[in-house]
Amino acid sequence: MRANVWSGRNTVQVENVPDPKILNDRDAIVKISSTAICGSDLHLYDGYVPTIKRGDILGHEFMGEVVEIGKGVGNLRVGDRVVVPFPIACGKCWFCKHELYSVCENSNPNAGIAEKLFGHSTAGIFGYSHITGGYAGGQAEYARVPYADVGPIKIEDDLPDEQVLFLSDVFPTGFFGADLCDISGGEVIAVFGAGPVGQFAIASAVMLGAERVIAIDRYEYRLAMARNKAGATDVIDFSLDADIVEQLKEMTGGRGPDAVIDAVGMEAAHGHGALHAVERIKQANRSETDRGHALRDAILACRPGGIVSVMGVYGGLMDKFPTGAFMNKGLQLRTGQAPVQKYLKPLYERIRNGEIDPSFVVTHRLGLDQAPDGFETFKHKQDDCVKVVLKP
């Protein structure tokens, strides 16, 4: 089959590889109809994630048709149309039973590596380096889906792929980010980053009842999408004024937002000249993996007693974490890879009853063979790119 593989920093290529095979009774093979490039794939592409290996098939946002099932998969049949959640979760361990699917104890066969870096292992993830298991990803014609009896959600109606594809990751991830903010009505929520996760965090905060949602980015076209499609009430373009903390205070009568969502992660673009330069150098020589401007500003901007919800991906260590602001303001830091399985059904329902049409983020539709172009366009935000969908 054809598959998009990582072949070195800033390089991916579409190659012929063997077709996937059932390796376990609880596996299924899915023929992929749509697959997407995620912002977190760019961290791999850019070479910031240390356990990636040449030849790894990328991709963790995919859906398609079940073409083969292991004998332990009782709930799916060949021909079913499914969306596959990006965390690979067994459904049986204590964590899965408590809906903490993204920290499943059993799905990562490189648990020993993950423990060395994180203290504990986290769940396997499709196409996301070897620290999350070394699973072949979904930017391919076919993929093997482990624990297929608990992960994939069956799509029973004729909604087009683009409306349900993002149940695999970015919609539940954005929703999880907003859900962690304890929104009960009347809050002001600030969202750093207006990429796909940021857009869904904004839309979700609005759905959950926030009164004002402030989108922060440096690209006007992304802020326009945040305002016109996701429902942001206010925007901050930090290419015009980099002092985000002061602008947020001013916009909220000096209080600061009740909760702040970081939808940026370890390759933050803004930040103050000298510190940014130092962090780029430290990342380049591997003495720091995470560049943390967005998280630092989120902590400084959040109102006392508020919540900072981190959806942007971090991989290792970050310097100059503002412990003083964090502690003295009594903030709560909430985070995690989204436990997608927990949100699949309720969010599918919200799509079906018309509360949201997640296809609003799609700006580029390409064939699988054009994946390398898709990565370049997405990375450099060319051609007003927000989300790339690939068709095998």
Binding site: K21, L23, C93, W94, G133, G134, R144, P146
Partner: protein
Amino acid sequence: MTKKAAITVARPRDDVEQLWRSSGFGLEGAAVTLLEAPGDRGTEIHVELQSGPPAGKLGEAVQKLAGSEPLAKLKDDLRRFKQRVETGVIARSEAVPEGELAKRKLKQRPAQPLAESETEKAGV
């Protein structure tokens, strides 16, 4: 260096004891203790290796490099036991088709499907 390892299995103590006995774990020179975990967390398996490595510190270093160090192997075995008992299968990825394996840590396959000839070798 500690020669202990522990893992928690989400099953009652009596079940775990029976499964452990029938699993045929040949842990020579190891002391195994099963404890009820707090709350609904199942059963803790504690294993302490009592015999030292074959040739002192040097032997230990060689075993570590080869990935056949007893403690590393013990941890692999505990994870596999837990996976089998809780999920019915061993977690296998394309990079690590044999499942968790200390000696695989430094020489992983790329994360892409196995050729026909490789599946048998991986014991699938």
